[in-house]
Symmetry: C2
Subunit: 521 residues, 2 copies
């Protein structure tokens, strides 16, 4: 806490981005939002277990790798691990803790991701935290037309919202699956949209060699990069999930290896629901998640020592009456915080998520998402997936929830501002001036500061009841409904060199002609 | 963190109260809730400023008391402070830091509050946190009939909800003002209801000598106590607010002194909205709040050294466009955390609140209240006022919000459970048993634990979308609407000795005959 009185100029209220209010507004009427900013969390993380507990979890995760092994359904991955010292029995890979710790020692604790607009470069690791859009739901909903299967149009809309909000730092997976595009060419249309409608960091699904290679190539083209420039530093990333318990599938491992060879990072995120695919005890579920995650990180280092990787957590509990997954529960928060302790133990950046089980953008959705975000902010999480728009345990992207969540993210970003204690903020002279019978509205100390003194919401309504009522008593989800439509109306794509756009179009056309990607796995 | 692997038996999942699910259900159908429990927060508080910042705030708060003084509109209080070393000019009282720190040295850092049911005794201070109902709104609302002025019936309903929920530890001020009872006798009817419909800790408004004395006497009668027994240990408390900037009013100070003489605690809570009655900088607003709060705590020690007192914070910001107060903002969270640092510096227990600016029980209300509760939980707050039911910056008590907030409080209580790392929770043998292709639902390790493994909500709906839709797609506020009505239907008052009840009735009748309390201040 020694530097807590120092305000970093680039993050402050009058920082490079215009401070809390920001400079993002281009004349559109929708909202006045915060500027683009890097977030540093100065508060120490919350640590629910002690050093002995950390050692016990580590020891047990190592026993899982040593004694139970992980099934790796990818012959190439098995062979690589075997060559680096692992023991293989059938498709099950065992490794001792010395090998694990040696391989983990080459993973950078912090790395950057540079998208086509280098001003939106992200730092992943340390005390940094970045937010991404909801990813991968097959459905979407809005309050006008209800819930339906996602379309290309919906996909584009959510990508526009992703670009619009400065509090969304990266364009993760597809914010909704465009089910009206054939899976063989879906990745081509989706990445073309993502790379032209946004200028933020993008992601490749590890769902087959062609998809992974196509996304890397399109990201390279969009950045105007040579192959060497692309390989030289992280430009994008992938995410892989294990098939818990204790198993990794072929395409996921393939994607990790393809990216690793080209210096691009993988976030390894086991999906361990306690009581279903993992032990019913949260500590056990975290332990299993770590064993599954670490073996994939080890694999990345065998392929390319020093390539960035991050550990993800998706450990939550199920409703033991129905088996339904639950998110944003107290158990989820604690599991995330413990995973954060373990990520720091292993020196790895960490990912968690802004998630909920609720079906509609109401009080429950907000409560669960707030708990998820509290988990992210207090655990030392560096990358937050699904930070805006997620409903139904990930089965639905909600337009209104996207807006509500961005209000929440802005609140958190303002919360990250350092508190400065100096004569100016202590304000003794202001108190002296006002005395016992005045008020502070009119004095110079207030006038000089009021415009940027406090966080100013774009969605929350601070009117008193009488004004709220006279203005139609519009609930938050209905205000959000109006806002996303205004944003889409005024949306402007970020600039892109015409030659690059044509190169991208040509690439997409060629790959479509070739049939895109196989869809038989 | 050295004891984080040790689970306190009385708080654990199988503790004295039946663990997370609890034993509170008496056969009523409304909900299955958590049992009554003491809450200990093991996580260290979040501290936004460093030791130097703490010293600077202290130094400036002392300068306010030394150089600016506080106007004390109570001649008795002025005289007491003068006799103890303060300097008086007119009605303004000045004191040097030596006097302040000497007087603060006798305040206990922890104390108990024992209501008529001693099983519901509360510990205030240390790592303990307790929750109370919304207090003092003139209006109330429910989704059936909308918003209206509070009535005696509404008052009784909210008192019943206060008693019903085990996560509500004390019955603070009136959860809604019963405007249909004349102010001269309102306190008599309200306290009679509170003392018969609940068996939890109660509070006296410091709004005139008669009210304060009546409430102390009724609390004594309800507890079946002699005057000596009442005086011997804290049985109830009062709350006083300063009239910021830098002023205390007559009746508030009178109430504090009356309670202090009888060994009963006061929570001193300046209401310092930054930019209005306090400096526009949050650090300055906190500093002013402390100066205002500390002088009243000093007064209590002059009256009765060692009588318990707590420092409250109500420092938030206003909307600088309209002057409307805002709550649950990032600025509010940081101000609360800094106040927590200062409370620990002075060795005082601390109070904060579960507050919001929203007008309806929607996403905004939940987000703001979640931020307020996050402030409470991370600041070292010991007493949380308004933890259930608050809307509109305190101008309205909402039936549905009360239910939603109790779900939130239960989530937080589950979050306070310590995480145990041992062979049982690490679950290596369970992972070994399930292997690479099984699942954990059916194994003995799961079967032995699933009923109490996770927090189980009473309001949140974890059904998948199809079931949610088929069951009517009921939003959270509408589910809450159904629940509060069910609870009121099945409510049973806690037992009370018939003789005590008659004594209370006789006291109320006598005092009404005498005209109650004057209403001319």
């Amino acid at each position: 806490m020694s530097d807590s009185a120092v305000e970093t100029p680039s993050r402050g209220r009058r920082g490079r981005s215009g401070g809390r209010e920001g400079n993002a507004r281009r004349g559109g009427p929708a909202i006045r939002q915060m500027g683009w900013r890097d977030n540093i969390i100065s508060d120490p993380p919350t640590e629910p277990i002690d050093a002995e507990g950390v050692e016990k979890i580590h020891h047990t995760a190592m026993r899982v790798l040593e004694e139970l092994g992980i099934e790796m359904l990818n012959t190439e991955a098995i062979e690589v691990l075997r060559q680096h010292g692992a023991t293989v029995k059938g498709s099950t890979v065992f490794m001792d803790r010395d090998m694990v710790m040696e391989k983990l020692s080459t993973v950078p604790s912090e790395f950057t991701l540079t998208p086509r607009n280098p001003e939106k470069k992200l730092t992943i690791g340390g005390k940094n935290i970045v937010f991404g859009n909801v990813s991968s739901p097959p459905n979407c909903s809005d309050l006008d037309t209800g819930r339906r299967t996602g379309t290309h149009k919906d996909y584009q809309n959510f990508i526009k919202l992703t670009q619009y909000f400065n509090c969304i730092h990266f364009a993760g997976g597809y914010p909704v699956e465009p089910m009206d595009i054939h899976p063989s060419i879906r990745h081509l249309d989706c990445l073309y949209d993502k790379l032209t409608l946004t200028d933020k960091v993008v992601h490749a699904y590890s769902l087959g060699a062609e998809r992974v290679e196509d996304v890397m190539e399109m990201t390279r083209i969009a950045g105007g990069l040579t192959h060497e420039e692309f390989d030289a530093t992280p430009r994008m990333y992938t995410n892989i999930n294990s098939t818990s318990p204790l198993k990794h599938d072929q395409p996921m491992l393939d994607g990790l290896m393809r990216l690793a060879r080209r210096g691009q990072p993988t976030v390894v995120t086991p999906f361990t629901l306690a009581g279903a695919m993992a032990p019913v005890t949260m500590v056990g579920a975290v332990t299993q998640s770590l064993a599954e995650g670490l073996i994939a990180v080890v694999l990345s280092q065998c392929i390319n020592p020093g390539v960035p990787a991050a550990i993800g957590t998706f450990t939550s509990n199920v409703d033991m009456k129905t088996g339904a997954p639950a998110f944003g529960t107290p158990d989820y928060v604690r599991a995330t915080q413990i995973t954060g302790q373990m990520a720091r133990f292993y020196g790895l950046p960490m990912r968690s998520s802004g998630v909920c089980a609720a079906n509609v953008p109401d009080a429950q959705a907000t409560m669960e998402t707030m708990f998820s975000m509290m988990a992210a902010v207090t655990s030392g999480t560096n990358i937050v997936y699904h930070a805006a728009g997620w409903l139904e345990g990930g089965l639905c992207a909600s337009y209104e929830k996207f807006i509500i969540d961005c209000e929440m993210l802005q609140n958190y970003q303002a919360y990250f501002d350092k508190m400065v204690v100096d004569d100016d903020t202590l304000a003794f002279d202001a108190m002296k001036e006002v005395g016992h019978n005045g008020h502070f509205f009119g004095i110079q100390h207030t006038q000089d500061r009021y415009e940027e003194a406090f966080y100013s919401p774009f969605l929350s309504d601070w009117q008193n009841y009488e004004n709220f009522r006279d203005n139609g008593a519009v609930w938050t989800h209905d205000r959000a409904n109006k806002i996303w439509k205004q944003i889409l109306e005024e949306f402007e794509a970020p600039p892109m060199d015409e030659a690059i756009k044509e190169e991208l179009q040509a690439f997409v056309a060629k790959r479509k002609e070739e049939g895109g990607a196989p869809t038989d796995f």
